[in-house]
Each structure stands twice: as structure tokens, then as C-alpha cells.
């Protein structure tokens, strides 16, 4: 298949994806579970892909993802709280120390940059370590970052262990457009689906762009160097690849995107609290990566949507007493969903080690060579930036 045809098909797929979201928001009630699943799924896909970049493509077993998400989340939240609301958010710290209020896009990029900056500082000592030492050191750094954010003395900036809220979320951005532009407000009144469509499209678009950036990075000469380092560090070095530079590049890019992912996650959740970003969250993302296949970007995306759809939607019944028509409140009570989930994941780890995709990619050629349907409910959201791996 020619490169231009591939590009065309990719663009077509993206348009189709947007159309699907459009149709969903037009014909499904705005309370349907599909919208939060798409939003959160897209965000988790971004974070999982960013983790895959270090763990799957560069062979750096880093467990600091939650820490970088935390940095991104806090940077974003701190810089987008409207001045009028600061007094009530920072009620224990006299309205806080920072009074800058940045546009959302700038704050998002800043979130990524701050996370990448921290990653650079952390990477200097840590990236010299080997496999499990690297894992435990990055895990440790995530814990240190969490402790620093919760430190009372930094309260005027981070609000210590209290929650940050009232910053710009997907809903509040759309609401802001409505108040500032009467024409848009009129349009929203006529078409009730428009706000739902926009709030769902925003995370999907941003994550799609970020994932596309990773795909391009992986297909570039840098990406080939990453894979060489993963496959054999010593051979790669002998071939003239600068190990320190490439490891650092991979680590910082991954953290940059994790920072943006963290910022998007708080936009979705509307509040942020440091205690959520514990090692359990890193494990969760790691398990998504494993589920999708270590070293496969499409795999991570499918894994993320499956994971989010299962945990937020399909397996909900396991927690609330009724599942697949079987009613057993004694067994199906709070927490059963997670038990089932972890058993599934253990089975994947033990018997299906390659995950859904292994290290292969689902790309245009495969899709259109033989018309094959892919992954459960996550179908429409996959093709965001899928480019073939062998290009």
C-alpha cells in the first residue's frame, strides 16, 4: 500500500471516529455510560502508551508513572483555578501563593513540561540503574513526589493534603464558551447534544494527537534506537547509540505525556488529591500495558478501553448485586469486581503472556487487507493515529 493511500485511510478513520462520537452524542442520552468510558479510556490510553514507550519500547522498567501524572495534574490544576475561586479552594492557606491563570492549552503543555523537567532531574541518577533497581528507584521517586506535594509547608502552592478543585474541566470549558459567545450558546440550546459531543471530543482529540506524536517518535530513527537498546543494550552501544541520551529522551518524553495525561485525568475528574496517585495507580497502568501487549501501541489503546469499560461499565454489576441476570447480593458485593479483574489479569500474565496484541500493531494494511473487526466496545476509538509500524 502506498504511503499516501495509507495517510488518506488514516485520516478517513479519524474522521469516522469523530463521526461515531457525533452520532453517539446525538442519539444516545447524555447520561449514557459510553461517554465517561470514552473520555477516561482515551486518557488511560495516553498514559498507558506513554508507559509503553519506556517499558515496552526502550526496555526501561520504570514505575514512576503515577508520580509524573501527579506532577502534571497539580501543575495544571494550580494554574487554571480562577482567581475568584482561589480563596475558597486554598481556604487554609489564605488564598494560596500563586495567582497566575493560564489558558487551558498553555497549562496542559506546562503540565507536560514540568513533569518532563522532573523526569530529567530524576533520570540523571536513576537511569544508570539496571532493571529492578530502576523499577524500585522510580517507584520510590513517585512516593517522594507524593510526600512533597502533601507537605504542609508547601500548602500555599499545593494546598497540602487538601483537595484542589474549581479548575477548568471539560464541562467548565464548554460552559465558558457558552457564556462568552451568544451564538454558541444559541447553538447549544438548539442542539442539546453539542456540549456532550464537545466534552467527549476534547480528551479524544488531545490524546489522539499525543499518541500520534509517540507513534511518529517510535517510527523515527530515535524509535529504532530505543528498540535496539531494549533488545540488547551492549550491542546497541557498540553500534554507536548513545545510551544515556536515548534513555533520557525516552524517559522524558514518556513523562511529558504522562504529565499531560495526568492533567487530562483531573479535567475529567474535576478534583485532584495527591493520595490517589499512589503506587497502586502505576500498577493499574502497568497491568493495562501488559493486557494490551508490551511493545504495542494499539495494544495499549485496546487494553485501556477494555479496562475502563470493564471497570466503569460492564462489570459494575459485580459490585452491586446483579450480574448477567444472576442476583446474588451476598457474593456480588463491593470489591468483587476488582477481584474478578485481578484474576483475569493474573490469567493473562500467566497463560497469555503476550497480551492482546503481543508486540504487533493493528494497522491500516491489516485492517483493509482482510476486513477484520477489532476489540470490544473500544472499536470506534482505536484508529486515533494508527500508522503502520513497518513504514
Amino acid at each position: 500500500m502506498k504511503k499516501s493511500t495509507k495517510l488518506l485511510i488514516n485520516l478517513g478513520l479519524m474522521a469516522a471516529l469523530i463521526l461515531v462520537i457525533l452520532l453517539e452524542s446525538m442519539f444516545l442520552p447524555s447520561t449514557s455510560m459510553i461517554f465517561p468510558v470514552i473520555r477516561k479510556g482515551a486518557i488511560y490510553a495516553l498514559v498507558a502508551v506513554s508507559m509503553n514507550l519506556t517499558n515496552g519500547f526502550t526496555g526501561l522498567f520504570s514505575l514512576g508513572q503515577a508520580g509524573f501524572m501527579l506532577i502534571g495534574a497539580y501543575t495544571y490544576a494550580i494554574f487554571t483555578i480562577p482567581d475568584a475561586d482561589r480563596a475558597s479552594v486554598y481556604m487554609y492557606f489564605n488564598g494560596g501563593a500563586i495567582h497566575a491563570n493560564l489558558p487551558v492549552i498553555v497549562a496542559l503543555i506546562l503540565a507536560g513540561l514540568v513533569a518532563a523537567g522532573f523526569a530529567y532531574l530524576i533520570g540523571l541518577p536513576v537511569l544508570r540503574l539496571k532493571s529492578d533497581y530502576l523499577a524500585i528507584a522510580t517507584l520510590g521517586f513517585a512516593e517522594i513526589i507524593r510526600a512533597i506535594v502533601q507537605w504542609n509547608t508547601l500548602g500555599p502552592i499545593t494546598n497540602a493534603s487538601n483537595m484542589l478543585r474549581k479548575f477548568a474541566t471539560f464541562e467548565s470549558i464548554v460552559a465558558g464558551w457558552r457564556t462568552s459567545s451568544p451564538a454558541f450558546n444559541e447553538a447549544c440550546k438548539n442542539a442539546k447534544w453539542l456540549p456532550t459531543f464537545l466534552t467527549t471530543l476534547m480528551p479524544v482529540l488531545i490524546c489522539g494527537i499525543c499518541i500520534a506524536v509517540i507513534v511518529m517518535l517510535i517510527n523515527s530513527s530515535y524509535g529504532r534506537a530505543f528498540k535496539a537498546i531494549r533488545d540488547d543494550e551492549i550491542a546497541a552501544e557498540a553500534m554507536g547509540i548513545n545510551l544515556a541520551k536515548h534513555k533520557m529522551l525516552s524517559f522524558c518524553t514518556s513523562s511529558f505525556l504522562a504529565g499531560i495525561g495526568g492533567a487530562l485525568l483531573v479535567m475529567y475528574q474535576a478534583t485532584v488529591k495527591a493520595s490517589v496517585y499512589s503506587s497502586a495507580m502505576t500498577y493499574e497502568i502497568l497491568l493495562i500495558v501488559v493486557l494490551g501487549g508490551i511493545g504495542s501501541i494499539t495494544g495499549s489503546c485496546i487494553g485501556a478501553f477494555l479496562y475502563v469499560a470493564c471497570s466503569e461499565w460492564w462489570l459494575r454489576g459485580l459490585d452491586s448485586g446483579k450480574f448477567l441476570g444472576i442476583s446474588a447480593p451476598g457474593v456480588f458485593r463491593n470489591g468483587f469486581r476488582l477481584v474478578v479483574f485481578s484474576v483475569i489479569i493474573m490469567c493473562v500474565v500467566l497463560f497469555w503472556r503476550k497480551g492482546i496484541m503481543g508486540d504487533r500493531e493493528l494497522d491500516v494494511e491489516k485492517l483493509f487487507g482482510r476486513k477484520k473487526k477489532h476489540g470490544g466496545g473500544s472499536g470506534p476509538d482505536l484508529p486515533s493515529g494508527e500508522v503502520s509500524d513497518n513504514g
Binding site: P125, I136, A137, I144, G335, V339
Partner: protein
């Protein structure tokens, strides 16, 4: 600042250090043999605590304690057989992920069984009694822990140095494949490692939770990580190293908890800096420093990379 102000922190540091030491041995032995960070070990420790809570509710303590220990040992054994043995030839990353998966499973199971509520740990009569040492009030477990720890460590070291199984363990940790060629039954050696680790974790959990109000599904995660750091600090694979590392971490951590009060009373700072937030984070600072200065830890042997 007087000695009586620092004493309680040092006392609880020594006690926590002893409890950490018992867990850290499990990490260091497993790492020495399988080159695996057994992420599930901290959760085995937590499950031991929960078992004790449930068992002591239905049977007298003198039965509940041995039953808890036996069940914990079985759990450790079962985890190794089910989750690590099938992956023996897989890349190291797979086993580590499997360990993380087991940890996730145990935590979620505990969450399901307890409903996420704090379970009060039963008070073990003699251990929970309050005693006075040089003006500091504490529980008897604080004094007993280091003694129990040291006795157990001596027994363990004797076991490793003077029995056939101990010799096999040393051989396997030195060179996995050669040991196999020499006719050592690898599987039974590895199982034995997990049995010893879980046994010590069970005893450690009894001592640890006696000092704390209760058990929650996540109470194993942080001690688990810290104990691994202790094992790295002392030189992974070395049992005395793990014990020394654990005591250092336990004492430092508790001193940091008390640092605010000490600094204020010494007149260094005028108001508390809330440094206690960093008592957990400090462990990892220590880890990064030791990896920098002496990557093999205090008592570790130097290893060379082979291409």
C-alpha cells in the same frame, strides 16, 4: 533537647526496625535466589495480619497464632507454585509483572473480604502490656521485638550455614544453572525460601500490628517497599545486611517523625516544619543515595556483568 525526648522515638525505631528486618529477610532471600523483587511479600504480610484478625475472633489465641503462621506459610508456598514457577524460563520482567499482579490480587481480595474497613487487631496479652523504660511509656512488644528478631536471625544463619538445605540455598543463589547441574532440586530450594520468608513475615506481622490500631488492605504496601529498600541497603542477598538495613531504616524513620519536636525544643526553628510527612519518603532518598555510593549495598558482593 534532652535524651528523654529522643528516647521514645529511638525505642519505637528499634522495634519497627526489628519488624522490618523479619520482612526484609523474605525479600533478600527470594531476590538472592530468583533475582525477583517479590512485590507480593508485603501483601502476604498484610494477609497474615488479616488472618489473625479473623481467626482470633473464632478460636482462642494460642490456637490462632500457630494456625495463622501455618496458613501464611501455605500462602507463600502457593503463590510461588502458582504465579512464579510457570514463569521460570520467562524474561525477568514477566516474573516481576506477575509479582505485581499477585500483589494487586491479594489487595483486592482483602478489600473484598474486609469491605475496605479497618479491622482491629486483637491484643496479644503479654505483648500488648504497657511498660515504662527510663521514663518512656511503651508496649512490651517494643522491647521483645529486637530480641525475637535477633534470635530468629541467628537460627536462620545457622540453618543456612550448617544444613544441607542451607548449603543448597547458597549454591543456588551463587549460580542457578550450575547448581541445577550438580543435582540440586531447584524447586524445593525455592519453595523452602518462600516458606521461610512467609514464616518470618507472619511473625513480623504479629509484632508489627500489635503496635498499630488495625489492618487495612493497603497496610502491607508501604512496609513492603521499605523492607525491600532495607534489603537493598544492606546488600541484596545478604541476611545480616537486610537486618542491619532494616534497623537503620526503622530508626531513621522514627527519628524523622520526631524531628519537628526535637528541632523546636532545641530552638533551631521557631515553628514545626511538618517534616513527619517525609518519614516514608526518606527511605527512598536513602535507597537512591546507597545505589549511588555503593550499588551493591553495605554487605553485598560485587558482581560483574557478562556479555
Amino acid at each position: 533537647m534532652s535524651f528523654s525526648e529522643v528516647l521514645p522515638y529511638i525505642l519505637s525505631g528499634i522495634s519497627v526496625g526489628g519488624q522490618y528486618a523479619l520482612i526484609a529477610i523474605g525479600y533478600t532471600m527470594v531476590y538472592g535466589i530468583l533475582r525477583l523483587i517479590n512485590f507480593a511479600h508485603g501483601d502476604v504480610f498484610m494477609v497474615a495480619g488479616l488472618m489473625m484478625v479473623y481467626l482470633s475472633a473464632s478460636m482462642p489465641l494460642y490456637i490462632a497464632i500457630p494456625v495463622t503462621i501455618v496458613l501464611t506459610v501455605l500462602l507463600g508456598f502457593a503463590i510461588e507454585r502458582a504465579a512464579y514457577k510457570p514463569l521460570r524460563t520467562a524474561p525477568r520482567m514477566s516474573i516481576m509483572i506477575s509479582a505485581i499482579g499477585v500483589s494487586y490480587l491479594l489487595q483486592n481480595l482483602a478489600l473484598y473480604v474486609t469491605g475496605g474497613l479497618n479491622k482491629n487487631y486483637p491484643s496479644i496479652p503479654w505483648l500488648s502490656d504497657t511498660i515504662h523504660i527510663a521514663g518512656a511509656v511503651t508496649k512490651r512488644v517494643t522491647v521483645v521485638t529486637p530480641i525475637i528478631t535477633i534470635v530468629l536471625v541467628i537460627i536462620l544463619v545457622l540453618f543456612i550455614n550448617h544444613t544441607k538445605m542451607g548449603m543448597a540455598m547458597r549454591a543456588v543463589s551463587r549460580d542457578f544453572e550450575t547448581a541445577q547441574l550438580m543435582g540440586i532440586k531447584i524447586d524445593s530450594v525455592i519453595s523452602m525460601t518462600f516458606v521461610i520468608g512467609s514464616l518470618l513475615a507472619a511473625i513480623g506481622s504479629m509484632l508489627y500490628f500489635t503496635n498499630y490500631p488495625g489492618v487495612v488492605p493497603t497496610s502491607g504496601a508501604m512496609p513492603g517497599l521499605k523492607c525491600f529498600v532495607a534489603a537493598v541497603f544492606g546488600g541484596i542477598g545478604s541476611i545480616p545486611g537486610a537486618v542491619v538495613g532494616a534497623f537503620i531504616i526503622g530508626i531513621c524513620e522514627n527519628l524523622i517523625k520526631g524531628l519537628d519536636t526535637m528541632l523546636v525544643s532545641a530552638g533551631v526553628v521557631s515553628k514545626p516544619l511538618n517534616l513527619a510527612t517525609f518519614s516514608d519518603a526518606f527511605t527512598f532518598v536513602l535507597l537512591i543515595i546507597i545505589l549511588f555510593v555503593r550499588p551493591t549495598g553495605l554487605f553485598g558482593e560485587k558482581q560483574t556483568d557478562k556479555v
